[in-house]
Amino acid sequence: MDARILEELRAIADDRGLVSSPEELHTYECDGLVNFRVLPRAVLLPTSTEQVQSIVRICHRERIPFVARGSGTGLSGGATPVENGIVISLVRMKRILEVDFPNARVVVEPGVLNLDVTSRIQHNEFFYAPDPSSQTVCTIGGNVAENAGGAHCLKYGFTTTHVLGLEVVLPDGTLVHFGGKTLDVPGYDLAGVFVGSEGTLGIATKIILRIVKRPECVRTLLAAFNSTNEAGAAVSGIIAAGMLPSAIEMMDNLAIQAAEAAVRASYPNCGGLLLVELDGPVAEVEALMTDVNEICRSNGAWEIRIAQSEAERALIWKGRKSAFAAMGRISSNYIVQDGVIPRTALPQVMSEIERLSQEAGLRVANVFHAGDGNLHPLVLYDRRVPGQQEIAETLSARILELCIEAGGSITGEHGVGVDKKKMMPKMFAEPDLLTMQRVRCAFDPLQLSNPTKIFPTPRLCGEQPGEYTPHPVESSGLAERF
């Protein structure tokens, strides 16, 4: 990068806010998707909205692509740097700006950690509902970019359900506000479009969140079945009985073994483990828990436990939430997959995964948000065995195709990023993708904000103000202009 531009950036963010030495830049070459790595030209760590604006204005003037980044826990490569681009890390913008209990709103900067929001408000019996497994380390800004989910979104919804307003620096440096502290602010729901746009529409610098009152009680039930099919049938029974649990999670035997090895959650050793959580007023929850118990028994559950204390409940969840990382205990390498199926397609999709797994000679562990059909198959392999990584990648991609064939989605909460953009044309038709890109053109006509993500074939926007300058991806033949 031009030394003059680097100096200009340094002047904005001071010495602590600029990383440009090659050895330090390696920290930022990938996010949680480690098999894609690109070294950025520089990393900026602004501390204010004004600094973000100034940095983005320079990027706009110099046509430098930029990638916003939080803690880098994303699993789809949403924060993978772009060739010749810079990374704007928001981790130093970590103030909780306002806690408004009477209106149940909290205003935060993007670098605030997910769990820190709940920590700040729990004394008043409130919590922030979206709870991705990485919630102790991931940032709200990252959650907004990816529309992060979690185990409890079955009842409480996703990040997008809880974001009421945003302050955003657009890719030309303009500051705009979407939504607000009140609902249904007149105009298009741009906050709704921005959340989950994976950093391609600008950078959120302030986020207005809705917080939720803690329910009177929470009850967690663990049921052991011989197979995931039996457990799946119990889930259907619970839904058919008209209940909306706050979470329904399923793990297969391999996932149970890994969780046991990692955190000793004392799970029963079974073919299909179901975790059902109900919350609400005590009388209501206890009445429904009796029904859940019966439904599990009648579908073949041979052991049912209800957590008797908060510690027991925490342990049950610890096992579930550490399931991805726990794979390291039973396999040297693994690919985390994230696909969604209509829940009723579970038996058919599971048996197909089993067949593919045997065919490929690789083990697949399954962790599943069973209530909303969000599958997390983990393909286990050993990188040291020549060719095995490729087989694992093919298998993992084939599982996503199964999800699409079943009428589902290629991602439920991890995002498309760089990882799955090739799958987008399998899920969406050309006009669908072009329409989304037209929306992108309204926000970012020069395609500077996290380009090369989500869309397999970036289309550049038509009329542009000012002199025509070929975009870097256009010059290199990676995109066409329309």
Binding site: T182, V185, V193, P215, G242, T344, G408, P431, L434
Partner: protein, 430 residues
């Protein structure tokens, strides 16, 4: 318009009409009459496409001819928003009314834009389910119209608004594109969330032809209560107490007006044993003397506002305020109305979303609407005029849209560059 232009326009219309008839069939293209008027503007034609692809193609032809297209479902909210700058062709979704898939075990439903909410609810009820939404006039209002106008009722408190219930949408764009986004699974983050962009866009970005919703189980039992309060401040306090309690209510609203003290209504849903416990808890929070068991009729309060003694001297606005400022907002309304001797009524949900009805002299009502809007906007609230009598002088329906308006215009420009769809009906002249 000079004679030459007039004759050119007539020729254009006649050729367009011929082409529309050729693929829609003559029975689905007819001349518009007085009952088709859109906020004072008389359209020329009404077309009723039978397929999404037909609708998209017709939209392309209309757009190419430089004419304006007005989507219409049940027509219940056709006069909302600003009057259109032009209204040439009405696109009725009456024939796009099929419920294509009720995947009850997956808690989703795919439905054509023209299906009425009532028919949809009746179908879902066969499997003990519902779209957890209580919009106005369900017997006539359609999926497309409710989505485009973002109409929600009391259940929103518990189940969210349309933006939280819609999981997929198909849009017809003026260039003939039919684009789907979202999907038919509840959890899905692939691609942009265009269902949210279309929600509340008043059909200005594309015509909704189909939508997919997440659905909820019907409640096993319900129980409603009404609690009288003396002052708005007490009503606000009770709402705050309930919201801050461990109650798990599905709806909570307050009714205010110039002629009666406020009433707070609450709805519980669940098992009988659960309802007993919640009722007991509620009685601890509100003194028992003021609490009565209510019929489900109270949840029609929002809709009841729309029956006017004299429609020519009444107006209705949607208000959005901070929940903690409900009493302040009501005081603002009361003061403005009393100075001008206007009658007023308001139904406000605990979410801060409500409807306000004013009755009296049209010029006075207009001044009050502006005054109240200004006050609300000062504390990040809003006031959107839904119904105004024909005699009222022009007034923007929307109010302030903030600094994102240029971006909204850019989005409009990308999807509807010729302003074919509902021109000038939305915010900032969109």
């Amino acid at each position: 318009m000079d004679a030459a232009t007039q004759s050119k326009t007539a020729a254009l219309h006649s050729s367009l009409r011929y082409r529309l008839i050729s693929f829609l069939g003559p029975e689905h293209v007819h001349a518009a009459n007085a009952s088709d008027i859109v906020a004072g503007v008389q359209p020329k034609l009404v077309i009723v496409p039978g397929r999404e692809s037909e609708l998209a193609e017709a939209l392309r032809l209309v757009s190419d001819a430089g004419l304006a297209a007005i989507p219409r479902g049940g027509g219940t909210k056709i006069s909302w928003g600003n009057p259109p700058a032009r209204a040439d062709i009405i696109f009725s979704t009456a024939r796009l009314n099929e419920i294509t898939e009720h995947a009850w075990a997956d808690l989703t439903v795919s439905v054509g834009a023209g299906c009425t909410i009532q028919v949809l609810q009746e179908t879902l009820a066969q499997h003990g389910q519902r779209l957890a939404l209580d919009p106005l006039w369900p017997e006539k209002a359609t999926v497309g119209g409710v989505l485009s106008s973002n109409d929600s009722g009391a259940l929103r408190l518990r189940f969210g608004a349309l933006r939280d219930l819609v999981i997929g949408v198909t849009l017809a764009l003026p260039d003939g594109t039919l684009a789907s986004s979202g999907g038919k699974v509840v959890k899905n983050v692939a691609g942009y969330d265009l269902p949210k962009l279309a929600t509340g866009a008043f059909g200005t970005l594309g015509m909704v032809t189909r939508a997919v919703f997440r659905i909820h189980p019907l409640p096993r039992n319900t129980r409603s209560f009404s609690i009288r309060r003396k002052e708005a401040e007490e009503a606000r306090h009770l709402i705050h107490t309930i919201q801050n309690s461990k109650l798990a209510h599905s709806a909570l609203q307050a009714r205010f007006g110039n002629d009666a003290p406020p009433i707070v209504d609450i709805l519980f849903e669940g098992t009988e044993v659960g309802l007993d416990a919640q009722e007991a808890h509620l009685k601890e929070l509100a003194e028992t003397a003021s609490l009565t068991i209510a019929s489900t009729e109270i949840w029609n309060a929002r809709q009841d506002l729309w029956s006017f003694d004299k429609p020519e001297s009444g107006t209705i606005a949607k208000i959005g305020i901070l929940p903690a400022e409900i009493d302040r907002a009501m005081a603002t309304i009361a003061k403005s109305a009393s100075v001008r001797q206007l009658q007023w009524k308001s139904v406000v949900q605990a979410t801060g979303i409500g409807l306000l009805k004013l009755e009296g002299d049209t010029a006075d009502m207009r001044v009050s609407l502006q005054e109240v809007r200004e006050q609300f906007e000062r504390s990040s609230g809003s006031l959107v005029i839904l119904y105004r009598p024909p005699g009222m002088a022009p007034i923007d329906a929307w109010g302030n849209t903030g600094d994102a308006l240029p971006l909204m215009k850019a989005v409009k420009q990308q999807l509807d560059p010729k302003s074919t769809l509902n021109p000038c009906r939305f915010v900032g002249g969109i």
